[in-house]
């Protein structure tokens, strides 16, 4: 039976240590999600999927599309209108090149943005079900997706030995009570 376990830590170092301990205990890396209010800056060996981003490539691809769109737009429409202005040729490469430059940048930006939203798993329904607002208080939340009992046992064993309760920070209004270990 799939179960989600949230473990809340006070610092990124503690969370990273716990993640490593869980992995050594046999939990697959893909089952562990670390959420924090600051970037984690972990080494790529530790984290899953970070080297497989295609944001840069998609951006370049978007730029190419933008450039092509610009060339088609300017060349085809100026031929269609077919009016002579100032003795300039109907197709004016230097001038049209400027439009191409801008649309290249626009294409790259829009493509990059869509790809980033897609890769980061943003704008998806129900994303916040796997989240705890302790992140907003600067704490680090580790979410474990336990597929079966064996994973749950590993989690209990590793985290249980480190269990400590601490009171919530003085001035930070939190929604939930600050437990460090919660099931759902």
């Amino acid at each position: 039976m799939a179960e989600r376990i949230l473990a809340i830590f006070d610092s990124a170092d503690e969370a990273q240590a716990a993640a490593r301990a869980l992995q050594r205990g046999g939990l697959p890396r893909t089952a562990i999600t670390i959420m924090s209010s600051e970037p984690a800056h972990t080494s790529t060996a530790d984290s899953a999927g970070q080297s497989n981003s295609h944001i840069g490539t998609v951006a370049i691809f978007g730029g190419v599309i933008g450039a092509s769109a610009a060339v088609l737009l300017t060349v085809l429409t100026s031929r269609r209108v077919d009016l002579v202005t100032g003795g300039m040729p109907i197709v004016t490469p230097w001038a049209f090149g400027i439009i191409a430059f801008e649309l290249t940048a626009l294409g790259a930006i829009l493509a990059m943005l869509s790809r980033m939203i897609f890769e980061a798993g943003l704008a998806r329904r129900g994303a916040l079900s796997d989240y705890d607002e302790a992140v907003a208080d600067g704490r680090v939340v580790v979410s474990l997706q336990c597929e079966d009992d064996s994973h749950r046992d590993i989690a209990e064993k590793v985290l249980g030995s480190n269990r400590k309760l601490d009171p919530p920070a003085q001035n930070a209004p939190t929604l939930n009570e600050s437990t460090d270990f919660r099931r759902s």
């Binding site: 924090s36 209010s37 300039m88 400027i98 940048a105 796997d130």
Partner: protein, 453 residues
């Protein structure tokens, strides 16, 4: 000297306070700016109903304050994106409390600047004819025209700047979502796209921001180059200059930094962010402002020396009108405001304080507005056939519209600070972690007040 990291709660409280409890200064600012905007809206309505004759433009001065404001505000927009992007790309740590201030300036200044190509039209209700769209008459815009280039450049830059402002805002939107209830929670929740702060998401966000920073720099350079080409592509004396592209970009960065310094000074005072926007930030921006002032003077000197030395009659007519003729008080005022006073002021560390840099910046803003005016009007007033020389005097409509742009900018900025944190919370916090990881390097992210600061 390593800084002690303040608690997360303190940082949150300080940086979210403008959103929660802005204070009296904010309300006063908003009231005044709303009044100014209303006056400008009235002037604009009057203008739309009666025609452009209510302005002071005439033959031969067909452009004046309208295009002055257009170029000025597009110039201001080069603050944010360039500063934020360049500082990000070069890894300058002291940028952290500044980036969002700067990026917000860009978006709003662009929005205001972009209004003028529409409202300066003789028939503004047909402004959409500049947009390429298929129609049954087979009509398309003329892509050879620099005004068509303007449309593409400004649209791209505006969209890019909004995205560049939005991306690093997402984690802060999630923070606000978590701290809010009711309708605000829904608002921030939708805007933050369900951000959770997973490692994957941070990695992708940082990649995206890096790509944006790299792409937006050439876009920003191209935008003001293209705006300058509205003038340089003509054959008017002292407009048809190959130097205009770099000249205008330098002027834009110059006025943009000045605007940023003023915005930071105001935000710092109104929201009591003295611990975050510190003397060191104003010092560094002041050094950049000094550099730009020198660069601006270099370009200006080159521009006028070549005109004078070449002694071409058409150019000399314009040159003389600025040096010693009708426009000379404004011209020399510009030299004073943009160079003669700010450069020495900023060159000495004892004057490069928060107050000093703010005063220098205010002078620069005034000087640069008149500099744009002086690029446009004297040339137009002195066409080649001397029988057609003219003059220009603005009317109350144009002056009200100009004031309205400043009011509108302040209003938009004030509303922004009320809804979003003006200092990027996560980036600021990240600075401490970065500092801890790079113990050997000096850091400028010291929120603990040192003595004598």
């Amino acid at each position: 000297m390593r800084s002690i990291r303040p608690t997360n709660a303190k940082i949150n409280a300080d940086l979210l306070r403008p959103v929660n409890k802005p204070g009296r200064g904010w309300y006063a600012t908003v009231t005044v700016s709303v009044l100014v905007v209303l006056a400008a809206a009235g002037a604009l309505t009057y203008q739309f109903s009666r025609g452009l004759g209510v302005w002071g433009i005439n033959r031969p001065v067909f452009w004046a304050l309208d295009i002055t404001n257009f170029v000025f505000w597009i110039g201001i927009s080069h603050a944010g994106t360039l500063i934020s992007a360049i500082l990000r790309v070069t890894g300058a740590e002291w940028r952290r409390p500044i980036t969002r201030c700067a990026e917000a300036i860009t978006v709003f200044a662009l929005m205001i600047g972009a209004m003028f190509p529409i409202i300066h039209l003789g028939r503004p209700w047909f402004f959409y004819w500049l947009v390429p769209y298929p129609n049954e008459r087979g009509l398309w815009p003329n892509f050879r025209s620099p005004l068509a280039w303007d449309f593409f450049a400004i649209s791209t830059y505006l969209l890019g700047s909004i995205i560049y402002l939005y991306l690093p805002l997402i984690p802060d939107l999630a923070l606000l979502r978590d701290k809010s209830r009711g309708l605000w929670r829904r608002f921030y929740g939708t805007l933050s796209l369900g951000w959770r702060g997973t490692e994957l998401q941070w990695d992708r966000l940082e990649r995206a921001v890096r790509v944006m920073a790299v792409v937006i720099i050439p876009v920003a350079v191209s935008v003001h180059t293209i705006v300058s080409w509205d003038f340089a592509m003509t054959i008017r004396p002292m407009w048809h200059s190959t130097m205009f592209g770099p000249y205008f970009v330098a002027g834009a960065i110059f006025s943009g930094i000045a605007a940023l310094i003023i915005a930071m000074a105001v935000v710092r005072r109104v929201f009591h962010l003295e611990d975050y926007l510190r003397a060191i930030h104003f010092n560094n921006l002041g050094l950049l402002l000094l550099t730009m002032s020198l660069i601006w003077f270099y370009f200006t000197f080159g521009e006028y020396l070549t005109a004078w030395y070449g002694n071409e009659p058409g150019e000399m007519a314009v040159f003389r009108s600025k040096m010693s003729g009708a426009f000379s008080p404004l011209f020399w005022g510009t030299i004073v405001c943009c160079f003669a006073v700010p450069a020495p002021l900023l060159a000495f560390k004892r004057f490069r304080t928060i107050k000093g840099t703010t005063i220098a910046s205010a002078l620069v803003i005034i000087g640069m507005w008149f500099e744009r005016f002086l690029i446009i009007v004297p040339t137009l007033a002195h066409p080649k056939l001397t029988f057609n020389w003219g003059t220009y005097r603005p009317t109350w409509v144009e002056m009200t519209l100009t004031a309205g742009t400043f009011g509108y900018f302040v209003l938009l900025y004030a509303i922004f600070t009320r809804i979003f944190p003006i200092i990027a919370v996560w980036e600021y916090k990240e600075g401490f972690s970065w500092q801890a990881e790079h113990e050997d390097l000096p850091s400028l992210n010291e929120p603990v007040v040192a003595s004598g600061d």
